[in-house]
Each structure stands twice: as structure tokens, then as C-alpha cells.
Amino acid sequence: MDLPLLLGILPQVLLDGLILGFMYALIALGYTMVYGVLEFINFAHSEIFIVGAFVGVELLLGLKSAGLLDALPWPLVLVLVLVAGMAASGVLAVTVERVAYRPLRHAPRLIPLISAIGISFFLQDAIRLFESLWRNAFNLVYPTMDVLNVRFELTQTVDVSVKSLVVIVAALAMLGVLHLLVNRTKVGTAIRAVAEDQAAASLMGINVNRIISLTFLIGGAMGGAAGVLFGVQYGLINPYTGFIPGLKAFTAAVLGGIGNIPGAMLGGLVLGLLEALAASYLSLLTGGAFGAEYKDIFAFSVLIVILIFRPKGLLGEVIRGRA
């Protein structure tokens, strides 16, 4: 075994894992916020995430064909694309809630779950249909902006590209804003009140439906931002790309303690790091017997062990008190 090699790549692997983890964290927020308020898993969230990525790529391709991609300053382009992706995913999440979940809110708990799975399939194939009619394409490529691929060498074996920095900075900023919003504002208090006890909250004059819509809007927007960042970082998306990251983010939400906002962030980071470590090291450590393809088995085995000792997740599940 080649110890200098193993240690040499460690910082880079951790960095890769961190970037993936921030993405999972952003998506996981959508699951965890909705669960915190409604005790319901929104399985369509993986598609809400990828819709953000598609809106982002369409806007970028539009700017490119208009010749504006290189003309505008790149930070402005990125902000534009992020805002567009967030808006689209947020509005979509609110619409999905209004159309497919609200009419079923008082049905047995499994019914909206099935509705969510249906919406997930519907959105996948709606995107596929739209893109095949509009661009006759299945895979869409994020246009490259050369400045995003510039790399800074930190050491001989570690470097970081501009786009990775963008992902980290954007994710940190959004997580910070969300934290302030939920804990320091009136709206945040209302969200927490609805999560704790819907009936009591409505007696206190809180419009419960509006707060639930707002929860979907925020969760969807975070998912949309993650979608755009995912596209910028990895470059290629298709209508089914959202499924796996969505599943992983759901896992991250459970790992951190579902319903718990800081938990979702922590869970995302832990899962991202585990996955990167497993994919990079498994084949090196086992002499090729187990390769990168076993990364999920490794990552999920660790998760199971964590959940055996902490069944409510790392930071504890938040279940609202029942009236």
C-alpha cells in the first residue's frame, strides 16, 4: 500500500466530499422542512430539484445564443441563473402542494405519499417530453464558462476550481439566510409554531395554509439552487438525474434527524464526505477487490450503524407535539 499516495489525496477527497455534501444539504432542506411542518415525505422533491437545473441550463443556453454569456460579467450570470432556478423550483413546489397534497391533507398518511410518487413520475416525463420537443435532446450540457474552470493550486496534490468555490460560497450563504429566517424573523416564528401545533397556531391568528405554502416555497427554492449548482459543478443533466441525489438527500435528512434544519445540513455533509471517501479509497485500500462502485454500500453501512446508536438521527428528530 502506498501511504504517501493515500495521505496525499486526502485533502482533495475531503474537498470533493464537502462540495457534494453541500449539495445534498441544500436538497435535504426541502425534505426536512416539509416533514417538520406536515410529517410527510415529499418524494417529488428530487424532481423539483432537477427542474431548477433545467431552468438554469435553458437560461444559460438562451444567454449563450443571444451572445450575452461572455458579454455579461460572470458573477451576474450566475446570480441570474441561481435566482431563476430558485424561483422556478419554489413556484413549482408550491403548485405541487396546492394541486396534489392539500386536497389530501386529512387523508390517511400513505395517500399523499402515493400522490407524491405519482407527481415525481409525472414531472420526470414532463421534462423529458418538453426537452425532446424543444431541443430534441435527452442529455443537456451546461455551457462552459472558462473562468469557472480556473483552478487554484493549494498544494501539489490539492486544488480548487472557481466553480467549486462558487458552490461552497452559495451554499453557505443560503444556509445562513435560511437559519436567520427561521430563527430570527416573525415568519420563522410562524413556521415553527405551525410545525409545533397547527390548530393552536391557527387560533393564534396564523394563516396555516399560507405558512405551509411558504415552507414549500423555501424548500423548493433551496432545491432549485442545488439543481443549478449541480449543473454548474458536474456539467450534464437529464430528466432522471434528480432521482439518486434526491434519494441521498432524503437519507441525509433522516441521518441528521428529520424535521431538524441544522440536522439536514449536518447529515448532507456527513453523507457527502462518506461517499467521497468510499469512492476514492475503497479500491486503493482493498487492492482493487472493492472498487468505487461499492461507495454507496459503504456509505449506507456507516449510516445504518449511526442510526442504530442514534435512531433519531445525529441531532434528533423534531416531531411536533400532538394536540
Binding site: 499516495l5 477527497v13 458536474y234 456539467g235 450534464l236 471517501l277
Partner: protein, 400 residues
């Protein structure tokens, strides 16, 4: 009022339903019945570019060469199926195909992983399958009398690749594959022969990942191989090569014929310029007899033929010739007769002379090494051939 709306809606639905019944109750031709040639290839999803090429190539051949059969009094039809590059879809389509007695030959598939289970279904009724693209050795090594291919084999293709790598004075290689029978198969042949030739194989790894290749690229970059070989298909290879180059990997890139699609350049752009790939299906532009085909194809479909379109064209031509031969008696031939006739066909095709051996392999198949010339997908056809070989399939005794 309301009633009439309901009635017209019902009427429209009935018409639609009738229109959608596949080949339902065809109007009987004034003759001996219908002969159908089917294709199966991915028409939707990430590999649709190649799958569509197979369908259109075969369609062109059927339209061009159906004359003799029509003169004999048959109605000739072309029926494309979408296998979505998924084994389960391919197999369930196959069951529909064998249930339609008029289908006498199937041209397909794109993916060996789909062709192998689907051909088990065709075998039940001895339906002749002529593959334009399936290079995995197992496809013909099962020695089924109905399974044939006009392309080459991965046990030769992998070796062609490692031989070429050696000639580039490459000393160390890193091998990645997609865990499918095709990708892993060709990657193993490449690895084994590379080892035999004294190249240092630094790693051999499978992955189903489609978007985030960071954790795979990082160890590769640290070990700095002279060449990276990706056994797989462009929709996965392209983002891998793109991310590797963007992360500063300087190795040469190489892959098998699964990389041979203009979508590789579309997705990975300038990052794959200079990359090598082997192919068991040369670019139509390299085939001296395919000029007319390329022109016809462009005229009819308004785009360049993707790789394997020419092979599909030849495969469909073989199928028509075999059906003609089997129909000599005058009545619609049995599927078994067509399968037997396929093995007897000798055709000067646009991809060279076609004749099958006892296993269904082509007696001499063509292999190429090509190099990506441009990041413009429109110029995919301009990729340079750096090496061209005609090789017979390995004899049964030479195999493990």
C-alpha cells in the same frame, strides 16, 4: 349540447385507439401476405442518438431493396421498436415481436446487455437476428443458429486498443468501466492484453455514476497514468473525460466503440479533442462503398448517419436477401428457413464483403482506431482513422 361533446370526445378516442393498435388487422395485400422486418434499439433516453441511427439505416435499406419481394407478391413493412437500452424493455418487446408471425427478421440491438437476453426470446422461435452493433463475444459464442452480427467482437477490439496504446509508447494505463456486459467485457480484454504486453495497469474500476466523477478522478490524478481507458458508452464516458480534464488530468484518453458518437463531442467539447477510440464500425466516410448511402441518408433524414447506421443498413439488406432466398418456393417463408438462409448470404455490402461463419460472426470484420478531430459535433465524421484492420474472429480453440 353536452351530449354531443361527449359523443365527439368518445368518437375521437375510438379513432385514436384504432390508430394505435399496432399493425392491427392490416388491409390484406393482393398477394401472399405481409413480410415485416423489425428493429430494436434505444429510440429514447441517453443513447437515442445511436439507436435512432440504427433504425434509420435499416429503414433506408428496407425501402431501397424491398422491390424483389414486392414483385413476388409480398407486402413489405418496417417496424421499429424502442428498447430504451434496458434489458427488461428489450425482452418484453421481443415477446411482442415473436407474437407477430409476420416479422421474419430483427435488426438490433445497440447494447450487448440488451441483445443477449432478448436473443434468448428470439431463439424460441428461431427468429433471425442480425446485429449491427453488439460486440460482446457472448452474443455469438452461444452458437445460436439464429443470431448473427455484422460488426466485430470485443475480444478483438480490446486487443486492438491495447496494441495501439503500446504503439503510442504508453507505459501505464488506468481502466474504468460501466459494469455492463459490454463495457466491463471490453475493458477486461483491454486490461488483460495490456498486462500481457507489459503495460503497467494502475487500476481497474467499475462505476455506475453518471454525473459526479470527482472521487474517481482524484486518485487517478494522483497516480498520473499515461492513458485512461473507459470501457463504456459516451453518455457516461463524456462527462467522465470532461471532469477529468477540467480537474487537470493530463493522461491520454481512449475508449471502445461505445464512445463513437457525435454526442461525445457535444458533451465533453474540447476536453476530448485528441482522444482515441477503437471501433468495430468505421465511420461511413471511411467506407469507399458507402458514399451513396451517406448521400441518401442525408437527403432523406436531413442529418449525418451516426456510427452503426451503415451496419444496420447492411444488416437489413442481408435480412431481405435471406427472406428472398427462403421465399423462392412462392409462399411466405418460415422463420427457421430465414435463419438458415441468413448464414448462406454472400453480400458485397457497403461495409465490405459480408459472410457469416458457423457462429454468426462475420468471416472478416473491420476494426479501426480513430482520433477525435474537433469539438464540433457536426464534424464528428471528420475524425481521423489512425489505424484500420480486417481481422477474422478468434478461433474457438484459441479461447479460454
Amino acid at each position: 349540447m353536452k351530449n354531443s361533446i361527449v359523443r365527439s370526445v368518445v368518437g375521437v378516442l375510438v379513432v385514436l385507439a384504432l390508430a394505435m393498435v399496432p399493425g392491427g388487422a392490416p388491409i390484406e395485400a393482393q398477394g401472399k401476405g405481409t413480410v415485416k422486418i423489425a428493429t430494436q434499439s434505444p429510440l429514447s433516453g441517453g443513447q437515442a442518438a445511436l439507436g435512432e441511427g440504427i433504425k434509420l439505416g435499416a429503414q433506408l435499406a428496407v425501402e431501397k431493396f424491398k422491390g424483389p419481394l414486392e414483385k413476388m407478391g409480398f407486402k413489405v413493412e418496417f417496424v421499429p421498436y424502442d428498447d430504451q437500452a434496458k434489458p427488461d424493455v428489450g425482452v418484453s418487446n421481443s415477446k411482442n415481436i415473436i407474437a407477430d408471425k409476420d416479422i421474419l427478421a430483427i435488426i438490433g440491438h445497440l447494447n450487448s446487455g440488451v441483445a443477449i437476453p432478448s436473443s434468448e426470446v428470439y431463439k424460441e422461435v428461431s427468429l433471425a437476428m442480425i446485429s449491427p452493433a453488439n460486440t460482446n463475444p457472448t452474443v455469438t459464442d452461444r452458437k445460436y443458429t439464429n443470431v448473427n452480427r455484422v460488426c466485430g467482437r470485443d475480444d478483438v477490439q480490446g486487443v486492438v486498443g491495447s496494441e495501439f496504446a503500446k504503439s503510442l509508447t504508453v507505459k501505464s494505463v488506468y481502466v474504468i468501466h460501466d459494469k455492463t456486459p459490454y463495457g466491463q467485457g471490453v475493458a477486461e480484454f483491454f486490461r488483460d492484453d495490456a498486462k500481457k504486453k507489459g503495460l503497467n495497469v494502475l487500476g481497474f474500476e467499475g462505476t455506475e455514476e453518471k454525473s459526479n466523477f470527482d472521487p474517481i478522478v482524484t486518485p487517478i490524478r494522483a497516480r498520473n497514468p499515461d492513458l485512461i481507458y473507459f470501457g463504456g458508452i459516451y453518455d457516461q464516458g463524456a462527462p467522465f473525460f470532461k471532469q477529468a480534464r477540467e480537474k487537470g488530468v493530463k493522461s491520454k484518453f481512449m475508449g471502445p466503440d461505445g464512445m463513437d458518437s457525435s454526442d461525445l463531442a457535444k458533451i465533453a467539447g474540447k476536453n476530448v479533442v485528441g482522444m482515441y477510440y477503437t471501433s468495430a464500425a468505421g465511420p461511413a466516410s471511411a467506407l469507399p462503398k458507402a458514399k451513396q448511402f451517406v448521400e441518401d441518408f442525408k437527403k432523406k433524414f436531413g442529418k449525418n448517419p451516426e456510427p452503426y447506421a451503415a451496419e444496420a443498413y447492411d444488416a437489413a439488406t442481408v435480412a431481405l436477401k435471406a427472406i428472398e432466398a427462403a421465399a423462392k418456393g412462392g409462399k411466405a417463408p418460415a422463420r427457421e428457413d430465414v435463419s438458415v438462409a441468413v448464414r448462406k448470404v454472400k453480400l458485397a455490402g457497403i461495409t465490405g464483403d459480408i459472410e457469416f461463419d458457423g457462429k454468426g460472426d462475420r468471416k472478416k470484420a473491420l476494426y479501426f482506431v480513430l482520433q477525435v478531430a474537433s469539438d464540433d459535433p457536426q464534424k464528428w465524421g471528420d475524425n481521423k482513422i489512425v489505424k484500420q484492420l480486417a481481422i477474422a474472429p478468434p478461433s474457438a480453440t484459441a479461447q479460454k
